[in-house]
Amino acid sequence: MIKVDNLTKTYPGEVPTQALKGVSFEIKKGEFVALMGRSGSGKSTLLHQLGLLDIPTSGTVLIDGVDILALSDAERTSFRLNHLGYVFQEYALIAEFTALENVYFPAMVLGGERNKERASELLKLVGLEERLHHYPGEMSGGEQQRVAIARALINNPKILFADEATANLDTVSSEVVYRLFQKLNKELNQTIIMITHEPEDRKYMDRVIWLKDGLIEKED
């Protein structure tokens, strides 16, 4: 499903920083993969390239056979909307939208029907059926993260990316999020790529790709 070949990313500057130095790997459909490594190892940079939030310096990324580096800006935007879901560490909800609006908004852009109903179902799935009309500022961190997960799922993405989605959550909330991801992975065969720092989270994953200094150190 995802084929990454010799991917590099260098951040320009007075002293250019090479965050990815030639990364290659494959991920199959329905896999729940963790990207792990120490701070500065390049895992966030890699996730940003895979999630089309940033543009790699060189290499190839194929998602379902589509060379995403060959896409125009508009095509990348459309690809993100139609095929990818992204959960940020800091939730990244739109403060002016209610939970329900945050979730159905990406679907609204595609013009589908029953968006609100589907958004309500997803919020119910993440246990927030009582918080539909609350604004992000009125919810806890765990609740906001679950809204972000529901939003990421609204357009039935091929791949769900999660960037340290539990880093700001307490143990109980983290457990809820992981169980939710596991449920999505097992029941809906959802492909998930997630960054985590916690080795004990390994139990939820099919596979872990370890990064070190911009290179894959190992896979297990």
Binding site: H48, L53, D54, D73, A74, T77, S78, F79, R80, L81, N82, L84, Y86, F88, E90, A92, L93, I94, A95, E96, F97, E101, F105, P106, M108, V109, L110, G111, Y135, R151
Partner: protein
Amino acid sequence: MNGIDFKTAIFVAYKTITRGNKSTAVFTVFILSLSFFNLMFVSGFLNGFSDGIMRSMIDNSTAHIIVMPQEKPTVKEFILNQEKVRAQIETIPGVVGTARHYQLGGSFAYDKEKMGEFKRVSAPVIGVTQSEEKKILTVYQNIVSGEFPDDLKNDEIILGANLAGGFGTKQTSDLGGAVVGDEVQVTYSNGIIRTYTIKGIFKISMGGSVGGTAFISAQEAESVLSVYDNASEIMVRVDLIHGTLDEYVEQIETIVPNLKIEKYTNRLSTVGILVDAFNIIAVIVTVISIIVAAITIFVMIYVNAVNKRRQIGILKAIGIKESIIELSYVFQSLFYVILGTALGLVIVFSLVVPLLQIRPILMPFGNASLVYTFVEIFINIISLTISGIFAGFIPAKMVARQNILRSIWG
């Protein structure tokens, strides 16, 4: 850009406005209303100034249309059978009134101290029938001494303050302070000499050269010129609600094809230069006001867009097209511009215009007022709206083009 994109952009704009900071929104609208007020007030005031000068010319000197003696095939000194000509012109719907003028040139001699020392100046003399004159000109309303009676006798004269002297700024060609009741001797260009008693003095600050003229009765003018039922000019006042000046001129030309017809605008001379100058100033000030208003909108929307950079980054990250984001900011900008414009209109027409009616600013031509045409108001609104569209679009474009991750995380 399709219907869904529009709907999405409106949704984002609506939520951003309704959930945004109310104080900031009120402040933005207030600032924009002041920008619009500035645009309206300055252009309206300058229009009012030009309009006041023109009105003063029409009311005190020329009326709207001047009918003059024939020039082709032969030049004639007078309009013949003026009463018949005027009666024909007055049949045109919308003509308010007509009046004949005899134009004479005279040399005035005035002995202020009655010591045999005459001060002599040359000035135009106009022969009028005051009952006709009152229908078209308002000189009689500007009498500062004595009176301008309907039955001005043949040995009576009305002097302009600039000719009489002693009223305000001293003129080089005044009589040095002639007062009502004094006598002046006038030697006409045909050699006839008449002595008149000053019956009244009028003062007109704006109105061309009329402030330096003298009025005698039409019968006296006919006596001096040895003519009857003639006129040097026929002044025509019209109601511009019923037709344009050009339409009236066309109709008069049909009635008296052999006579020369002029619009008052042809007589503006130095006043016309002044009016043209004010019109140019009005255009310049209006353009500057629009630019200032556009910059104001731009700065406010840019600050708003920069503050919403995270929101813009998130919208891009979830796959919202830049064009939708830009359009939503254009809608936000338009919302503020429309409210600001509406408030500006309320300030102008509900506050300033009535205030100027209660406490007018006195100008040489009368009370200054704000003058607008619907076209000018429309142009001002459209100018500000277009400025708002660009001022909303450009900052949103600038912010939306930034890297997604930098937008979200700063």
